[in-house]
């Protein structure tokens, strides 16, 4: 079950780095999605951990309407699963395929008619299994620039103490706020 805590995401065009212990990251994901939807914002989830089909069932159990959500799924093909295409989901063959992932993000951002959009990246920590920190940092910088230029909000989920100090300091520079899920609130970054 998701945590009852409601994260207060205060601005529609800010970028957040959200940290949680490994056993709380799924609860943080659900809490963040609920918050995005409550602001009438369209979430785009980049999932590098759960396949779309499973994510849809998990969200449905939490009362989240999948019709309002777009997903970029990087793991269904990676797991040998069947990619059932529909307008709400785009598939990338594996999380390390940054070229396709970048193209898909760009396409989806153009395709979604809603004015208020928010990308949620779940999660940076799992992403680092597939690509080295330096490459991840460059890619995330590319995503952040794209979001900033389009005035779109972005939320990067991450396991606390799960980032190399170099990437953490770089990401801290990219984002507007760092949120500690366990503290149940928003901390202004130093």
């Amino acid at each position: 079950m998701a945590d009852a805590v409601t994260l207060q995401i205060q601005d529609d065009s800010l970028l957040y780095l959200m940290l949680a212990p490994p056993d709380r990251i799924n609860a943080m994901n659900i809490s963040v999605i609920k918050n995005i939807l409550s602001r009438s914002c369209t979430p785009i989830i980049i999932t590098v951990n759960q396949p779309y089909k499973v994510l849809a069932k998990t969200y449905a159990k939490e009362g989240i309407d999948m019709e309002k959500i777009y997903v970029i799924d990087t793991v269904t093909q990676y797991s040998g699963g069947i990619c059932e295409h529909n307008q709400k989901v785009k598939f990338v063959n594996n999380p390390a395929n940054l070229t396709d992932l970048g193209i898909t993000i760009t396409e989806l951002l153009k395709q979604i008619p809603s004015e208020k959009k928010c990308i949620m990246f779940d999660s940076v920590s799992m992403f680092l299994i597939h690509i080295p920190t330096a490459t991840a940092s460059k890619f995330l910088h590319f995503v952040v620039n794209k979001l900033k230029l389009s005035d779109i909000s972005g939320i990067f989920l991450c396991v606390e103490k799960g980032l190399d100090p170099v990437i953490l300091s770089q990401m801290s520079a990219f984002v507007d706020k760092i949120v500690d899920f366990e503290k149940k609130g928003l901390d202004e970054k130093p």
Binding site: G81, V159, P165
Partner: protein, 178 residues
Amino acid sequence: MDANPIALDVIGLPKEKIVGNICHDFICPAQCGQCPITDLHKTIENTERLLINAKGEKVPILKTVARASMDGKDYLVESFVDIRDRKKAEDRKIALIAYMGESVMRVNKPLELTKNNLQSLATQVSNGDYDAEDIRMQIQIQANNIGKIAGNLKELADKFSEEREEIPEEFRQFFIGK
């Protein structure tokens, strides 16, 4: 007044081009009036300093300076050791430690996440909300991820074994304790 052949070699100039010159901004980076010995009255004994060579490069040295008096005239006797290799080894050590830290980070937290994902899978199997294909996909993802993590560990091990000969003695001691 004089310089020995090793000093000439490190500085990269013949004796005649050194003797008679003022050291400030020539072989010593200190500004005129800021000599650590004669102006600032500091002691330099096995201290890390910089020497400017003929190419204008700053060479790290370990330096000791003693005062000497000959025929009523004061001299500074400077002896130094070129520590460029040691500095290079230290830089490499820092890089290796950073590389190791990053690699461990790419193993440690993902493994914790994988453990949690597997625990969550166990719950999903028992509550019956997910079909066999859902479970299979997730198990396959976790298996692939563990494979990737093992690959990252192997990459780290290869990195160290490839460059084992280059790892400085003190660094090896740090790692294996002998």
